[in-house]
């Protein structure tokens, strides 16, 4: 039997959110059984962090968690340099999370010095891409869904091609918007706002700042905890998979004289406004009402 690919997880500047998210995968150990786990911060392996820092291990699939900062050291070792050391020998390099992919929340503290591994917000880091572009898989998300990572790992194990977009994101996961599959679509269609948080009815696009329609992701196709999603429970999507995450005032829709500033992905404003004006003109009784009247 061919030897199992070596899986190495390296943390740079991170809150550990992606490790913990992946750790919560309902089939974690069955997935890991296909790999030789070299290092993962939450599970004990044959090797210590020290072994990793001393470059005593090897990697076939390198997972990077956290943003990159030139002079960041751990145990006296420069982490950026360490990542490059392992990246060079790896067949796949996966950036897990928005920090590792684009810079994310950590970039806020020192925007000049901190970035993603191969992208700095939406900008490509050409020196990095020229080295690793064909081995790189971007998995933005704050955090990533455990199944986004297992999808990638299992595709690799099964020697299947993973179609990627221009930012190296798997199209299967990021080719749709978060809006796709949200249970509130009908309310979006008829422009009925939810007026608050946590309600069963209404859509969060008009007042509460839902970014679902212009955020790449599959939160409403691959549910969180196999159960639900932010937008389904009545919280706006924060656009955590996007290069410009985090933005400000995440609980309110930015408008220009009442007109949403950002449009659903690829929809011209003129087209959107025409359709909206028409949809808004109708009063749909069923959608204006509560679905369940708890007072009765």
């Amino acid at each position: 039997m061919a030897r199992k690919p070596k899986l190495l997880w390296i943390q740079s500047l991170t809150c550990n959110g992606n490790s913990h998210s992946f750790f919560n995968h309902s089939n974690l150990f069955s997935i890991l059984s296909h790999f030789e786990l070299i290092y993962f911060p939450l599970i004990e392996t044959k090797y210590s962090l020290e072994d990793v820092l001393r470059k005593k291990v090897h990697s076939d699939i390198l997972i990077i968690e956290g943003a990159i900062k030139e002079d960041l050291t751990k145990g006296g070792v420069n982490i950026k340099e360490l990542i490059h050391h392992y990246a060079k020998e790896s067949r796949y390099i996966i950036t897990a999370g928005t920090c590792a992919t684009f810079g994310g929340i950590f970039k806020q503290s020192e925007p000049e010095k901190i970035s993603g591994f191969a992208f700095d917000k939406e900008n490509e880091k050409e020196d990095i891409l020229s080295l690793y572009e064909h081995r790189l898989i971007s998995l933005p998300g704050c955090p990533i869904h455990p199944k986004w990572l297992s999808y990638v790992l299992l595709m690799i194990i099964n020697r299947r091609r993973i179609p990627l977009d221009e930012k190296n994101r798997p199209q299967e996961l990021y080719g749709f918007t978060v809006h796709t599959g949200c249970v509130r679509n009908e309310y979006f269609e008829w422009k009925i706002d939810t007026h608050g948080f946590g309600h069963k009815e209404g859509c969060s696009f008009y007042e509460n700042g839902c970014q679902g329609p212009f955020t790449h992701g599959s939160c409403n196709k691959i549910l969180w905890n196999d159960t639900s999603s932010k937008t389904v429970v009545g919280t706006p999507c924060f656009g955590c998979t996007e290069p410009d995450f985090p933005k400000e005032r995440l609980f309110s829709t930015k408008t220009n004289m009442g007109i949403p500033q950002k449009m659903p992905l690829g929809i011209p404003k003129r087209a959107y406004l025409t359709v909206t004006g028409i949809a808004k003109s109708f009063k749909i009784k069923r959608l204006e009402k509560k679905v369940i009247d708890y007072e009765k």
Binding site: N256, M257, I259, R270, G277, S281, F282
Partner: protein, 200 residues
């Protein structure tokens, strides 16, 4: 009605019915104008006119959509120009007054038929349904102005009412023969006032 392709004979006929009915409704009022009046003015039979529009109410609604589209297309041309919001305001005021002068029936129809006979338009022209061509372009104008930082971010209807209510009011006064000067002579002042009210 649409740019970019040649209208068929039937579409041309439809448009000429809309234009003629628009003139008659504006001149004689909605209730006093009958379908036979309109057919007569077009030299067509009543039966044939009904082939195009099933009732007077439907015709009335199609007219408001038509005028809204025409006005919207004119404003769109202004929106697509690479000029400041201040200059756009002046151009919109100019074109509105130009239309009031050259095609007074369009503005008259809006003010005296559409706004005065809500019972006809309530069913089928609810909300912005029939005026979306025009309202959409005003929205685009506001949106661009706020985005570029030139206009103040405020409530849409406060701004819309100020802009369009003002222009409509002036044309109305003109129609009542109350204005001492020609409409054109007010363009500079009015544009300035609107800009001052909307600027950031």
């Amino acid at each position: 009605m649409h740019k970019g392709y040649v209208l068929t004979k039937k579409e041309l006929k439809r448009e000429s019915i809309l234009k003629t009915a628009l003139k008659l409704f504006s001149a004689h009022g909605f209730h006093k104008t009958t379908i036979p009046d309109i057919a007569n003015a077009l030299n067509m039979s009543v039966g044939n006119l009904y082939n195009y529009f099933k009732s007077k109410d439907i015709l009335a609604k199609e007219i408001i959509k038509y005028t809204s589209e025409v006005l919207g297309q004119e404003i769109q041309k202004v929106n697509l120009q690479n000029i400041s919001s201040k200059e756009k305001i002046k151009k919109i005021v100019e074109l509105y007054f130009k239309m009031a002068k050259e095609k007074p029936e369009m503005i008259e129809y809006f003010l005296r038929v559409y706004l005065s006979h809500r019972e006809v338009f309530n069913d089928g022209c609810e909300g912005m349904l029939c005026v979306s061509g025009f309202v959409t372009e005003i929205m685009i104008f506001f949106d661009n102005g706020v985005e570029s930082g030139e206009l103040r971010n405020q409530d849409f209807f406060s701004a819309f009412g100020l802009f369009m209510g003002y222009l409509g009011g002036m044309v109305f006064l003109k129609g009542e023969n109350i204005l001492p000067k020609k409409l054109d002579e007010y363009i500079d002042d009015i544009s300035e006032n609107i800009y001052n009210a909307l600027k950031a």
